[in-house]
């Protein structure tokens, strides 16, 4: 074989592999790697940013007539990522300093604040490992687990939040109707052009079963079967869903835009005044047989003016 031909074949082979890897990087890898650590992405929020009592914390404190002391039996708080800022702020406002122990990127066993996320928090409250969890409504599986361990859950609505649909900032679509959104997730609409957008395939993203946003989405679908991914969907333009606070208040290098639904944008004001159609309540949840006096005092406080002021100061809409 001629030397020049052999070298050309080798260069071409190397170029094919380089092109393949570059394409994989641009289409997939680049989109799934961000500035947060794997642990932060699992948590969906930086725990340290809202760590109660820490210097420079973003946890909110309000003037509180309820103040637990170190000698009190402190209710263990836990919950969803999107609501971690709420219960971290509750601890910062009501709990004594030193009650929250955070080491090596996680809460220690004896800490009054824990972070298990919705999926595990419902299990923790049913098992008695957490006293009050802050979450969206439970899924049928989560209620089923509680029943299986003989627990009945008491759900106390403490605030309201917008359930939002998100797309890339460059997607020309700015709003959809509820019928169109359901149609995307049933597979009725396959291309953004059908909805007044660009000629690109729609890539509807779903969330983990049992997560707060997935449970709300299942309610939104009103019994209609959701499609689970589309072949070559990664070549299209995505749509996903989450809660407004998580989209707006958690700082990120990259951003997305929230869609107006039925002509109403999910601004804090529209969620508060009830004009945005997809407003969901979130709850402080405990076992209904948890008769710890401080659990009851804290639940009452969350519904008081002071507690509701805290909900609003964190960035959510008050329930009362």
């Amino acid at each position: 074989m001629k030397k020049s031909a052999a070298i050309a074949i080798m260069i071409l082979t190397a170029f094919i592999f380089l092109s393949l890897n570059f394409s994989i990087y641009m289409l997939f890898t680049r989109r799934v790697v961000d500035e947060m650590t794997v642990e932060e992405r699992k948590n969906a929020i930086s725990l340290e940013d809202y760590l109660p009592f820490a210097d420079g914390t973003r946890a909110v404190t309000v003037k509180s007539s309820l103040r637990f002391s170190e000698s009190d039996r402190l209710p263990v708080l836990d919950g969803a990522s999107a609501l971690y800022p709420v219960y971290a702020s509750v601890a910062a406002s009501v709990y004594p300093e030193g009650s929250v122990i955070f080491e090596d990127g996680a809460f220690s066993d004896g800490s009054a604040v824990q972070f298990r996320n919705t999926l595990r928090a419902y299990r923790a409250v049913a098992d008695g490992d957490a006293d009050i969890i802050f979450c969206a409504a439970p899924s049928a599986e989560q209620l089923g687990y509680a029943a299986s361990v003989g627990a009945e859950l008491e759900l106390v609505p403490i605030g309201r939040e917008g359930f939002v649909f998100i797309v890339n900032e460059d997607n020309p679509v700015n709003g959809l109707t509820t019928e169109q959104l359901r149609g995307i997730y049933t597979g009725k609409y396959k291309n953004w052009r059908e909805l007044g957008g660009a000629d690109r395939m729609i890539d509807p993203k779903t969330r983990l079963a049992g997560s707060g946003s997935q449970t709300v989405m299942e309610h939104f679908m009103n019994g209609e079967q959701m499609m689970t991914g589309r072949m070559f969907g990664f070549l299209g333009a995505s749509v996903g869903y989450s809660f407004r606070f998580y989209v707006e208040a958690v700082p990120r290098e990259h951003s997305v835009k929230m869609l107006a639904v039925d002509g109403v944008y999910p601004s804090a004001e529209n969620i508060k005044n009830g004009t945005y159609p997809l407003v969901t309540e979130f709850y402080a949840v405990c076992r209904d047989d948890n008769d710890d006096e401080n659990v009851r005092r804290l639940l009452d406080w969350l519904l008081s003016d002071e507690g509701q002021e805290l909900i609003e100061a964190v960035g959510y809409a008050r329930i009362k």
Binding site: K2, I9, R207
Partner: protein
């Protein structure tokens, strides 16, 4: 170039290419398990 030399060099290039592609695919799949939906949507190509 001797045929044997050519085949050895080609084998090395192909092996490196396959290894790099497999490593990138595994890394990407691992990251996808934990990726933020916001980052995923925000970084799509337009």
């Amino acid at each position: 170039m001797k045929e044997r030399t050519f085949y050895i060099l080609m084998s090395v290039i192909v092996a490196l290419g396959v290894a790099a592609t497999a490593a990138l695919a595994i890394y990407t799949a691992y990251e996808y398990q934990n990726c933020s939906i916001i980052t995923y949507i925000a970084t799509e190509l337009w």
